[in-house]
């Protein structure tokens, strides 16, 4: 065994060396965004011929706006000036700290890509297909309302139904209470995306839309 003095120096040297090791942000991102549960990829995502908007019936459910087709959008995520663009959605980071999510109507929804894009913008999120997640008790409704909203492209708030086809979803991460994250659930059968605010450490999920959703 090395002497105590040498052992102390070894610990010290390793500590000094380790503090100089910077984990590259891109490497960390790749490591944390990869799906390590390949079976979850087996879910089939149907190509959508037509999309409709589900009504807003309860304070914890928000049907998200689906904007027009981005014909030139690439399937490969592109990052430019705070905008993440995929074939299925565009996420733009705004100067006031909010983010605008625009879905493309004719593309297959990819929950993993949306979750990755949101997290890349510093918005903790859980995105699933075919399920709805909620916390009990739920985060305050006021926090939810301040976090997620529907707007027209000119900033006009949208409420009630039907939701205009060009409405976009605006996310305000600053309004999210500590320990919460956004939940988005996409339902192929209804071609509906729901949004919710949940506690990251305490939530349950179930198949299908909640029963109190309006059609």
């Amino acid at each position: 065994m090395p002497t105590d003095e040498l052992e102390d120096e070894l610990r010290s040297a390793f500590t000094r060396a380790a503090t100089q090791i910077t984990v590259p942000e891109q490497a960390r991102h790749r490591l944390l965004q990869r799906d390590y549960h390949p079976r979850s990829r087996s879910r089939r995502h149907r190509r959508l011929a037509e999309l409709s908007i589900a009504g807003v019936a309860a304070s914890t459910i928000l049907a998200l706006g689906l904007a027009g087709v981005f014909g030139s959008a690439s399937r490969t995520p592109a990052h430019d000036l705070g905008t993440i663009r995929t074939a299925a959605f565009t996420l733009t980071k705004n100067a006031n700290g909010t983010a605008t999510l625009t879905l493309t109507a004719d593309q297959v929804f990819n929950p993993g890509a949306l979750q990755q894009a949101l997290q890349q913008d510093g918005i903790p999120a859980l995105v699933e297909t075919g399920s709805y997640c909620s916390s009990s008790p739920a985060p305050p409704g006021a926090a939810w309302a301040a976090t997620l909203s529907l707007q027209l492209p000119d900033g006009t708030p949208v409420s009630g139904n039907p939701v205009p086809a060009d409405a976009v979803t605006v996310i305000n991460p600053a309004a999210m209470p500590a320990g919460t994250e956004l939940f988005f659930g996409y339902f192929n059968s209804d071609r509906t995306l729901t949004g919710n605010l949940i506690y990251a450490s305490s939530y349950t999920c179930s198949s299908g839309l909640p029963s109190h959703r309006a059609g």
């Binding site: 040498l6 102390d8 610990r11 390793f14 984990v23 944390l32 390590y36 179930s206």
Partner: protein
Amino acid sequence: MEWVRDAASKRQFEVFAAEASDTLFRTGYLMTGDLKDAEDLVQETFLRVARRWSRVQSMDHPAAYARRILINLVLRDTGRRSRQKAELEPQGGGTEAADQYAARALRAVDDLAEFQWALAQLPARQRAVLVLRYWADLPVAEVAGILGCSAGTVKSTASRAAARLGAVLRSGESPAPEPATRQSGKEAPDAHRRT
């Protein structure tokens, strides 16, 4: 419902990965001296942990389990077990004077590149002993458990590795292979290569 458990479990794995990734990455880098290799090691480790997550998540220290996987991934790539065993067979350690020289050499190191280079000159099993014992700060018995050898072997290997590290730092040159290395067909220093 099974699905509910799966979703919650997946989320718990994500939390674990977020908490463990940096430490595992640094461990991987200390073991390989290469950022890409370190990333590959962490990724492979996460894949293996995920496959056993239902069992791992009930462990007291899932991160320790992951570190064990990572270390063994490195060692798996360094040669057959017989060669690894030869590296760990007790041999004469550093003398007290050699330890003093080594301690002095280590004290003078303040550059990661220099330290990393010197570390890379050691055979992987010696590196693993040093990383686990002095970076992860594990007790000798735990290091022995991870490496599948006796506590005595860990101690003697630590002694030889520390003396060798000090010698490399002092001389600034790669050490000549020990005579026993050639006789036993032991791996060359830094033989870790990932494809």
